[in-house]
Amino acid sequence: MASSLALKRLVSSNILPSSLRVVRPIVTAPSTSRISSTNAMRDGNDVFDPLSPTMSPSQVVNTRDQLMKNPFFSSSRGMATLAKGNEGETGEQKNILRPLSPHLPIYKPQLNSTLSISNRISGAFLTTVLLFSYLLSLKMGSLCLTYSSFYQFFFYSAKLFLVSASVSALAMSYHTYYGIRHLLMDLLKVGVPKVK
């Protein structure tokens, strides 16, 4: 699945000419044909993973528009590719990319979802602080001796240490409380929020 994702991303970039786009439905069909419908043709940009920035529906369609206007091929050749795509599939629907309806930008944040994402953010923050401080404390000496700018930075930002410690204490306490609440909810059904 990762390889098909990589291929989708490669095909949708401007590097490859559009003639290879016709190959796309056949290549990705085995991995996505069972669940996704024939109508929903997905661009590699539509796949959301935690590392890449999410694209709004307008961005997806815009990317497709930009690909259409690629200087590699004239508009007539682009249209011919589209028509060929028609024949190659069911022959009844147009080969257009459907936008993804907006999700993160428009969904109203609620208490339960905000608490949950704060748990994730605090967990990630604590992990970085832990690993980074460990690495830093190990390598502080050699780092400061080699790069004088780092030494200056750490000297002047030493006062920030207290602030960052209290922020991490806040994150740690929140994460722990949420974890205990999660355990109680799962094992003992204590504190499950009532439905409206």
Binding site: T32, R98, I106, K108, Q110, S116, D186, V195
Partner: protein, 284 residues
């Protein structure tokens, strides 16, 4: 007020053409319906006796694919029913016939009109229009492929529901042959809160976990139905059903975000049912 204007306009045109029009078409003309020409004339203007509200509705046309837009429509709430679906139908009848949305029962039992209203998923026929002059934003169900305007592709959702095998499965014939399988009231009460699900997809499309893993995570709706069949005392494939769902992605993408319970228009709690399945996996 708008409908009386239409009626007056119809009467005027009717009187003018009465002498020249054939009897059959005379019957057609007199009926006060908003035809194409009449629709162009209806322009709601803010006056002392009107209560205007702006609706921002997500539009995208597959025939002219461009950037999806939010289009503004002004509606006089005094001439409109209380629910968002009434406003949508009024817009489609009087202002813009090309607005596309699914609807059927208009009473909250079919689940067709599920959409995102002011940031929360719900059924348009059950969501009251907010009073006050703030704009109402209507977008399709989140993170689904848009077929046109507010209509989304639900194929993946239905396939996931199918995959949990939502029917009674037995290994042995019923205790009294030819008659129904008996179930006590207590056992039947275990199904309350799950059988009412109308598969509107409000819960699944409100779950951020489902947004990021739509094909591998089953989603709150399918898992609620999985629990409905797992908890059914008449069903004898409980262990197999639990094993089928016991997957890193199918079940455990749920992180109890509980957006689903907030979004359900029927007041169900899919998060609670998912916790029940997880508990059964621990103990069973």
């Amino acid at each position: 007020m708008a409908s009386s204007l239409i009626r007056r306009a119809m009467n005027v045109t009717c009187r003018v053409s009465l002498s020249t029009v054939a009897p059959a078409s005379r019957l057609v003309v007199v009926r006060p319906y908003a035809g194409e020409a009449e629709a162009q004339k209806v322009e709601p203007k803010a006056a002392a006796s009107t209560n205007m509200k702006t609706f921002q509705i997500y539009r995208w046309n597959p025939d002219n694919p461009a950037k999806p837009q939010l289009q503004d429509y002004k509606i006089d709430l005094k001439e409109c029913g209380p629910m968002v679906l009434d406003a949508l139908i009024k817009i489609k009848n009087e202002i813009d016939p090309s607005l596309t949305f699914r609807r059927s029962c208009r009473e909250g039992i079919c689940g067709s009109c599920a959409m995102n209203i002011n940031g929360c998923n719900g059924l348009a026929c059950l969501t009251k229009i907010e009073s006050g002059s703030s704009e109402t934003t209507i977008t399709p169900l989140p993170h689904m492929f848009v077929i046109k305007d507010l209509v989304v592709d639900m194929t993946n959702f239905y396939n996931q529901y199918k995959s949990i095998e939502p029917w009674l499965k037995r290994k042995n014939p019923p205790p009294t042959a030819g008659k129904e399988i008996p179930q006590s009231k207590k056992d039947r009460a275990k199904l309350d809160g799950m059988y009412e699900c109308i598969l509107c997809a409000c819960c699944s499309t409100s779950c951020p976990s489902y947004w990021w893993n739509p094909e591998s995570y089953l989603g709150p709706a399918a898992l609620l139905h999985a629990n409905r069949w797992i908890s059914d005392s008449r069903d004898e494939y409980t262990k197999e059903r639990l094993d089928a769902v016991n997957d890193e992605y199918k079940l455990y993408r749920c992180h109890t975000i509980l957006n689903c319970a907030r979004a359900c228009p029927k007041g169900l709690n899919p998060g609670k049912q998912i916790q029940h399945i997880k508990q059964l996996q621990l103990t069973g």
